[in-house]
Symmetry: C2
Subunit: 443 residues, 2 copies
């Protein structure tokens, strides 16, 4: 076998340790698949004294020891977070190194520019692990679905929130209880906002939408609404009505523009996505030729993420081995395939202009005519009802001991701005105590 | 843009017409993705006089007009069937042309040798469309899952049988009725044996298992049992017991060898595969790093198959454009990535040595002690029961008007050979009128 291909790592946390372990324990089979050995040369860490499986000689706290080492041809970035990861990725590209990253934040914020720099420098940037862990969804967009005009991507791409929602649905517990258990099990962080507010899912949707719609998308283009306001009651009604509640990431090409949104949604209980539970992720795609395809698997964790990172390393190493990267091939680098020309004219539809259906739960006086008042307001905004459920005897104000009813409305398709205006007016009706939830209905 | 990449087609049936239409109508976007135009030069047809969307000048009945044309760099084989497709593919490779094929029969029977010839000649053979239509499952094995040791592939990969089974499950109709409707709708052929006997699924499993287990598999290595003996009663009991019935293709690496089998199976009703209905396909894969991933979509039809064929054409064209195929790169062709070294030592476990659970339905005299006799035979073969259902008043013999009971047994894990012997003995018990069904239970 020929000389080894050197790999340097930036970061050796949970994912990084998984990648390092896979590179070491699977060295023989990786070498067979590549045609020559792939050798972990050095890993950047913050605390070199922590006990690790890796030989201390391989550890460094100096980024230059990875970025400037000519024996390192492939840099694996698994630091996470925006900085210094972004800066290191650019430095690696500048030095002519290929990059494999699991960094959704950096790829969401700077992906197109990073890929353009890499193409100009004749190196590859692979990022399969940035969305959906080991589910090969980036590869599908990069290549397998290229013949299609894609109309829609609908995904469950945040394992933390899906774990919490699954627990709320199955056990009837409230949000705080489910979150606390997710934290105890390590599925949610001590500060869970990045996950529960939909920010993580918005990063991933930005990456998917950029690839799916060949458009230069930014995280700020994504409307993001989290799960913290969902109540146990919503899950009871969802089940009663034949739905599941999921945090969906939706990218949709409509005639009026691209819809890009992350929010909790009702999904028919028999929909495949409705049955993606726990920490699993799934990405459903609609194309003009292929129809609907769906990818499912674990979206996070050391194993699945390592699966994607090491596959990207193998892919680059195979092409390095075959002499198909770098050198004189620079002008026509493999990067052209990562990012076909972007359609700069594609615009994102403001959330206010989205049309969808709604579930509205509110607490109102248990008195005749209340529903008529509410439907009157909806009607004035051209929103028609699909169904109404009224439950009596919900005590809202323990002090006054007033009897209130919980009213659940399902609408037909309506304009988001009109729905928001109608709900604001409904909240002000004297007979309405408060709005419980407003949840969009998809599928 | 540089000079065009010429494509020649072998076959212009339903799939071929879909591919030709996609190449023509999407010429602009394909050219943008590739970097230069991809042009359909010529198509081999049997009957040139049939009305078609393609200009008559593009049609030929002479295979050499495709295979020997130096302007054609990529040959798309969509003839189907073993010959002359196999011979044409080899001829194209020999002439230094890249090949894209949707041919599961040829790839199942001759895949490894075709890929080896292609590697030796420095050309690529792509076959994403051979399994699962537009679902990018071949690509997943070729690249995305390469870092994994794969333990299992379980798939629903024949749309015809899945349509029939879904109909039987939903409508309670018998096999013949469901088959007739599938034929009327064009989902089953006039001679349906290739599908309903599990032959088509066995071809596809051969291809998947070769890639998943890096082993040189043949269709003859696959145990194949079709769906024609399933009865409406089996679907009733399956539902009652909490199962669905699917034609599964299973490849499993066990310590004793590889299991390769296609047969109807009970699957727990809440399993994802149990909810893959109609003409949809799904492939579920277990790997040591990635855990479980599942791919879902339409497994057949002009659109989905064209999606995969055209993606393969784009991939080859991109690499041709980038100068990464052919010429001096021959010694290190991209084919090395299609087929990592095969482990010639891997052996297939005979079906007789498989262990699984079983559902057994039989018709017996409605008399005390019958179940005791049956369980005695099972016990002698070290097969233990998980549950028993007995229904009375099934009239088997209308002439004698004897009262019989239908008995349904679910076993724990048992050895296939022992189960077969036990069932043969049970069939001979004087109190047993006949064996209704023996169906394996998975998941």
């Amino acid at each position: 076998m020929q000389g080894a291909i050197g790999v340097g790592m930036l970061g050796l946390g949970i994912v990084g340790s998984g990648v390092a372990q896979a590179l070491l324990t699977k060295a023989d089979s990786i070498a067979r698949r590549v045609g020559r050995p792939v050798v972990l040369q050095r890993a950047l860490v913050r605390t070199p004294d922590k006990p690790r499986a890796l030989a201390p000689a391989l550890l460094t706290t100096n980024p230059a020891a990875v970025l400037d080492d000519p024996a390192i041809e492939v840099v694996v970035e698994v630091l996470g977070g925006e900085q210094p990861a972004h800066q290191y990725i650019l430095a690696a590209i500048e030095r002519g190194k290929h990059v494999v990253t699991a960094n959704k934040e950096v790829m969401a914020k700077y992906g197109p520019e990073i890929l353009e720099s890499a193409a100009a420098r004749g190196v590859d940037v692979a990022f399969e692990a940035s969305v959906g862990g080991g589910i090969p969804v980036i590869g599908a967009f990069r290549l397998d679905l290229l013949a299609n005009d894609l109309q829609e991507v609908t995904a469950i791409i945040n394992g933390t929130t899906n774990y919490i929602l699954t627990k709320m649905a199955r056990e009837g517990v409230d949000y705080e209880t489910a979150l606390a258990e997710a934290q105890a099990l390590g599925y949610a962080e001590a500060d869970p906002r990045n996950d529960v507010d939909g920010i993580d899912a918005a990063y991933k949707l930005t990456i998917l939408a950029t690839l799916a719609f060949h458009a230069r998308m930014r995280p700020a283009d994504v409307y993001a609404e989290g799960i913290a306001r969902l109540a146990a009651a919503d899950f009871r009604y969802a089940r009663e009505l034949g739905y599941a509640i999921k945090l969906l990431a939706i990218g949709r090409a409509t005639e009026r523009g691209l819809e890009l949104r992350v929010h909790p949604a009702f999904l028919p209980a028999d929909a495949l996505l409705a049955n993606v539970d726990g920490v699993y992720n799934a990405v459903s795609v609609e194309g003009d030729l292929v129809g609907r395809v769906l990818f499912y698997g674990r979206g996070a964790g050391a194993g699945p993420t390592s699966s994607a990172v090491v596959a990207d390393v193998i892919d680059i190493a195979q092409r390095l081995h075959a002499g198909r990267l770098g050198g004189e091939a620079r002008a026509a680098s493999p990067l052209t395939r990562l990012l076909p020309p972007l359609d700069e004219a594609r615009r994102v539809l403001p959330m206010q202009d989205v049309w969808t259906r709604y579930y509205l739960r509110l607490i109102a006086a248990d008195r005749p005519g209340v529903i008529a008042q509410i439907t009157h307001v909806l009607g004035e905004h051209e929103i028609s009802l699909a169904s109404v459920i009224q439950k009596e005897d919900v005590v809202v104000d323990a002090a006054s001991d007033l009897r209130h009813a919980e009213i659940v409305l399902m609408t037909h398709r309506a304009h988001e701005a009109a729905m928001q205006r109608a709900v604001a007016l409904i909240a002000e009706l004297p007979t309405v105590a408060r709005i419980g939830s407003l949840i969009r209905v998809e599928g």
